[in-house]
């Protein structure tokens, strides 16, 4: 039976540094996925993933068991995304990734899952539209959509991570999905 997150944390704090790898293995896909969908850039998502686990490792002793480890690490990752966003804004960079870079990201991201070539192409096309629509959303709306759709978190879990009421989670989801719908329809109309 696999050890729980709390057991792994105990082992790590007890001096078994390698035990932390189990936590990394368990959560890296989710953290990378979250960072990728929030930033839209693979390279940045990789960095954020690294930073998140480094920060978690360094601060493991401060982790309070009131919340779950998943909530805690998601919060660290989201803060890392915020920090990067702020730095980019200070440098007056446009955070939205270029179409070429994003397209290449999506091409790299797609893999063979037994689909036919036309199905793959159609899926890639949809993924490009989704990325554009998602990146155009205000960050607070993008966050809840990514957390709900890709991380499969409950409203209560999202509320806990973002420190907002469940009603706000729902209202942001409603507004975000509405904006996504309008943007996707508009983008499809342009093609």
């Amino acid at each position: 039976m696999d050890p729980s997150d709390d057991q792994i944390i105990e082992q790590t704090l007890g001096g078994e540094t390698e035990a932390f790898n189990l936590l990394v293995r368990r959560w890296e896909r989710q953290i990378y996925g979250l960072s990728l969908r929030l930033t839209g850039r693979e390279e940045e998502a990789r960095d954020i993933c690294q930073e998140t686990f480094i920060a978690a490792y360094r601060n493991l002793g401060k982790f309070r068991r009131e919340a779950s480890f998943s909530s805690w690490i998601y919060r660290i990752a989201i803060n890392a995304c915020h920090t990067r966003q702020r730095r980019q804004n200070q440098r007056a960079e446009i955070p939205i990734v270029s179409n070429e870079e994003a397209d290449s990201n999506i091409e790299l991201a797609s893999d063979d899952r037994g689909r036919s070539v036309p199905e793959e192409l159609e899926r890639d096309q949809r993924a490009r539209l989704v990325r554009k629509a998602l990146q155009a959303l205000p960050p607070d709306l993008r966050q809840v959509i990514v957390m709900k759709e890709y991380q499969d978190l409950t409203f209560a879990e999202i509320g806990e991570i973002l420190d907002i009421p469940v009603s706000t989670v729902k209202s942001r989801l409603y507004t975000g999905l509405g904006q996504m719908r309008a943007r996707l329809e508009r983008l499809r109309g342009v093609l």
Partner: protein, 231 residues
């Protein structure tokens, strides 16, 4: 199994205050919170049944549920694919106390970063020890700094070259796989076409009058027609 619903607080101004795109005038029905709970199946069975009944009466909610489901299907198209590995490594031979001091700095970095850091550390130690074996020959701190920087730059260059080589190899591999896939599809289409032709020929042998299909131009002889027969 449905999850327990959390009833939305009906605080004024919470919903619909962000942005204009995609906002819908919901005059007459303000069940956005329930709609979202229904969409993500975070409702009790009873609440689910009740909202399903509501959908048969409220065209606005029904339209939004359908529209949001399409958005969710589209969102599913963006996959992450492979995920880069992060690893905590304990180098052999280092005492635990030293490891603890170094771990937060070195051990959580990716392989290339650890390689660079360890190279720099090794170069620094080597250069710092050099004066001990050379009697009066001393290396100034600036000189050590310069040598370390050069060593790191060389290592970095090497790692970048390796990375580029791996990228090129990956792209070539992807291209080969892509070509192979296209060829497989083309072969499949060709096989289907040949099957079609064979079945048409079989039908012709049974006296069916569908000779016009041979306009496909594959050079087959028409069944039942000799070499000198006129068309």
């Amino acid at each position: 199994m449905n999850k327990k619903i959390e009833r939305p607080d009906k605080k004024a101004g919470e919903i619909g205050q962000i942005g204009q795109i995609g906002e819908i005038d919901r005059a007459g029905c303000d069940r956005k919170g329930d709609l979202i709970s229904f969409l993500y199946e975070e409702m009790s069975d009873e609440e689910n049944r009740e909202f399903s009944r509501h959908l048969t009466e409220c065209a606005l909610c029904a339209d939004e549920v359908a529209g949001f489901r399409r958005v969710r299907e589209d969102l599913g198209a963006w996959e992450t694919g492979w995920v880069p590995r992060t690893e905590v490594v304990r180098p052999a031979g280092l005492p635990a106390s030293l490891l603890d001091k170094l771990s937060s700095l070195l051990l959580l970095f990716p392989v290339w970063a650890r390689g660079m850091a360890l190279t720099a550390l090794a170069a620094g130690l080597l250069l710092a020890l050099l004066p001990m074996g050379r009697g009066d020959e001393r290396v100034s701190p600036d000189e050590i700094d310069r040598l370390v920087r050069e060593a790191v730059a060389r290592e970095r260059q090497q790692l970048e070259n390796d990375y580029r080589a791996r990228t090129v190899a990956f792209e070539e591999q992807s291209q080969r796989e892509h070509d192979a896939r296209i060829e497989a599809v083309a072969a499949s289409c060709k096989a289907n076409l040949n099957d079609l032709r064979r079945s048409l020929r079989a039908e012709m042998r049974h006296g069916q009058s569908i000779r016009s299909y041979f306009a496909l131009g594959d050079g087959y002889d028409l069944p039942g027609r000799g070499a000198g027969e006129e068309r």
